[in-house]
Amino acid sequence: MSAILPPAERLWWKHPLDRVEGTWIAIAFVWCLVMFFMMIYWHAYGQQNLSTETYKTTPELFAKKAQAVIDKYTIRTETDGHIPVVAVPPGGDVYLIARLWNFSPILEFEKGQTYRLHMTSMDYNHGFSLQPANINIQIVPGYEHVVTITPNQSGTFSVVCNEYCGIGHHTMVGRIYVK
């Protein structure tokens, strides 16, 4: 007569449900469908959908493409390490390299303009955590992820690495300016 004994009725599957259960199952099921279609709806009408555009790449290949953009569009350098600040024209392709333990180059965007941001890692997994805007994307070595972004606020943003990547993980921060 209890959950730790075999069911008393041999034909337990023929028993009708209680209305509490039946009603709840119906409500819960509808809610599950709402949540399912919400994701599809957002792909159609929402502005924040993560791109799935991905290419296989190697550190050498990616570094070469990134360097070409850096050479062409660097507007100044910053910090003691002379990290280049790169400003590509709106609509352009820009490359962000994650490696132990920094992000480079520094990027500069214009508010309201759209850019194609290419990201990969040269070594381990890293995390792209844009703060304080709070957008978090995984960076996986060997894969070039192209994310189309449209900054909607101006200011100084940080890119914090939020995937554990070894002993220097907590020192890995990059920067993005939006004018």
């Binding site: 959950a3 730790i4 008393a8 337990w12 009708p16 449900l17 993560l50 997994n125 939020n162 554990y164």
Partner: protein, 566 residues
């Protein structure tokens, strides 16, 4: 296969324990508690380092201790205890002998050797790779070898469980279908076999990689298969602790499931759908298509969510029906007010149900939504969520069950019952708060597995808002309170085993006494088609639903303010 075994009928519970099964349950459960102790000691280091005002350990030590905390808790404590639960749900509930006890001891030995090997690898340094050990970051070969040995042992134990079901069937120790709780355990075990297979597929190549036998494991393939193991193994925990909820409802209230069909159907949904949910760890990854992400994380997963929502109703519902049958019929909630709140077995399970649903469940679905995942991916929101599932849900249920097992399985009187009465409240409620503030900090973007919020000495340091520091400080305080709660559990359990008063063992007999047939009662036949048997539970469920819907859409609103992404 030796047949010389004995069966003991516990005079306090009427449960029948076969001698071999009893020893194995004890060994597995005690080992589990040792790992909980170890994980708990490590939690002190983790929590006191993430508390910004304390910031105790230095960085290397912190990452090492965090790696060990994750493994000792999530893998070793939980799975050793689950093996004991599997033996309980087969041999004890079906009143039969345990199949192949020698092989079960072999399984235990492999698991123990594996767990120790893995721990040693972490403490030697050079393996601070976190439990996820994403390639190409490498640990020492013995790190992976330990995990593989442990997994093989656990797999063998699963087959001992299945073998025991066969023994019960053949010896006809029960008639009809297995009890619901055993059915839940079967669910857990089936998922475990699938899970361990995925683990082997990815850990064996990684082990070979660490030995230099092969030279590459693709990082994205690793993540995908690792999560087929890492996520599905959480479904083992869910199935196991929900079985315990049903068991405790039955033990403390004599509650029977509202309907066997619904509860079993919900377990079946777990088997069918839950395994596919590894996708929700990859929602913010490159490479996977949108369709793949949505179908895997959601459609199928929502059937699993549906199943959990069903269990969340039917367990308290069963308790309500049982209480009302005892005459606690006044209003919507007399059944709940008059529940045995001073019995830690009940209070632990109840705190577990509410916390698992409201904190773990709602946050889990939010995180598992394709676009919303970007808000919290890899922030401390994630450990906030899973401490609600795996600590409040699984660990607290295991603790509650232990209080029942101390007199029944271990044959000891519990020391300090006055303290035990308070333990679930201290541990459970401080964990509620811990999870809430972790999620709060995560919503502000605070990263997980991160040693230094202040980025001291870093050129382009980011300055977190004051609220983030406040939240992480509260994480520290709540974490310390939870650790004290955990320490009390260990003190009571180990203390009772060592110096609790020995209790009467009960009769031993050479043959099992089959489970007597229970006559279908009038109650069984009446509630069903007609009634609305658990109105109080239904109201609680609606409160849950409203919180769920609100929280879900608040996050969409938040998402809509972010930079455009496409």
């Amino acid at each position: 296969m030796s047949q010389t075994t004995t069966y003991r009928t516990c005079p306090r519970s009427g449960l029948q324990f076969e001698a071999n099964a009893e020893k194995l349950m004890t060994a597995n459960a005690v080992t589990a508690v040792v790992f909980l102790l170890l994980g708990g000691i490590l939690a002190i280091g983790v929590v006191l380092t993430r508390w910004p005002a304390v910031h105790w350990l230095e960085a290397g030590r912190f990452y090492q201790v965090l790696t060990a905390h994750g493994l000792d808790m999530l893998i070793f404590w939980v799975i050793f205890f689950e093996i004991a639960v599997l033996y309980f749900c087969s041999s004890t509930l079906l009143r039969c002998r345990l199949a192949t006890p020698k092989i079960a001891w072999l399984a235990f030995a492999l698991m123990l050797i594996g767990a120790v090997t893995n721990n040693v690898a972490v403490y030697q340094g050079g393996s601070s790779v976190m439990m996820t050990s994403y390639v190409p970051m490498m640990a020492a070969p013995s790190f992976y070898l330990g995990l593989i040995l442990f997994a093989v042992g656990a797999l063998i134990a699963c087959f001992v469980f299945f073998g025991t079901l066969v023994v019960a069937k053949r010896d006809q120790t029960y008639q009809g279908s297995v009890p619901l709780v055993t059915f839940g355990a079967i669910t857990a075990c089936i998922i475990a076999v699938f899970t361990i297979a995925s683990g082997a597929i990815i850990l064996i190549p990684t082990y070979l990689l660490s030995l230099g036998v092969i030279d590459r494991v693709d990082p994205l393939v690793y993540r995908t298969i690792w999560w087929a193991f890492g996520h599905s193994s959480q479904q083992i925990n869910v199935a196991a602790h929900i079985s315990i909820w049903y068991a405790v409802a039955a033990i403390t209230f004599g509650a029977k499931p509202m309907s066997e069909r619904v509860s079993r159907g919900a377990f079946l949904l777990y088997i069918l759908f839950l395994q596919l949910a590894s996708a929700h760890h990859l929602l913010s990854d490159p490479g996977m298509s949108t369709e793949w992400k949505i179908v895997n994380t959601s459609y199928f997963m929502y059937f699993a969510v549906l199943a959990s929502m069903i269990h969340g109703l039917t367990v308290p519902g069963a308790i309500e029906v049982a209480q009302r049958a005892k005459g606690y019929n006044k209003g919507l909630f007399e059944w709940l007010r008059k529940a045995p709140w001073g019995n830690p077995t009940f209070s632990g399970v109840f705190i577990s149900i509410i916390g698992f649903g409201f904190l773990g469940g709602i946050s889990g679905v939010m995180m598992g939504t394709e676009q919303l995942n970007m808000l919290i991916h890899n922030t401390v929101y994630v450990p906030g969520h899973f401490h609600a599932t795996v600590v409040i849900g699984t660990t607290l249920s295991f603790m509650a069950l232990t209080y029942f097992l101390i007199p029944v399985l271990f044959k000891r009187e519990m020391i300090n019952p006055g303290l035990a009465k308070w333990q679930p409240y201290l541990f459970g409620l401080s964990m509620y708060f811990f999870c809430l503030v972790m999620m709060g900090a995560g919503t502000l973007g605070v990263p997980r597995r991160h040693w230094d919020l202040s980025f001291s000495g870093v050129a382009m340091a980011y300055e977190w808002p004051g609220a983030a520091y406040l939240m992480m400080g509260l994480v520290g305080i709540a974490g310390v309170a939870a650790i004290i709660g955990g320490a009390i559990y260990i003190y009571i359990t180990v203390g009772s085993l060592l110096w609790g008063k020995r209790l009467d063992q009960g009769e031993r007999s050479p043959a099992p006494t089959p489970i007597p047939l229970t006559a279908p009662t009038a109650a069984v036949q009446t509630y069903g088609s007609t009634g609305f048997a658990a109105p109080g539970t239904f109201v609680l469920a609606l409160v849950f639903l409203v919180s769920f819907v609100l929280y879900y859409f608040i996050n969409w609103k938040y998402l809509s303010t972010l930079w455009g992404l496409s």
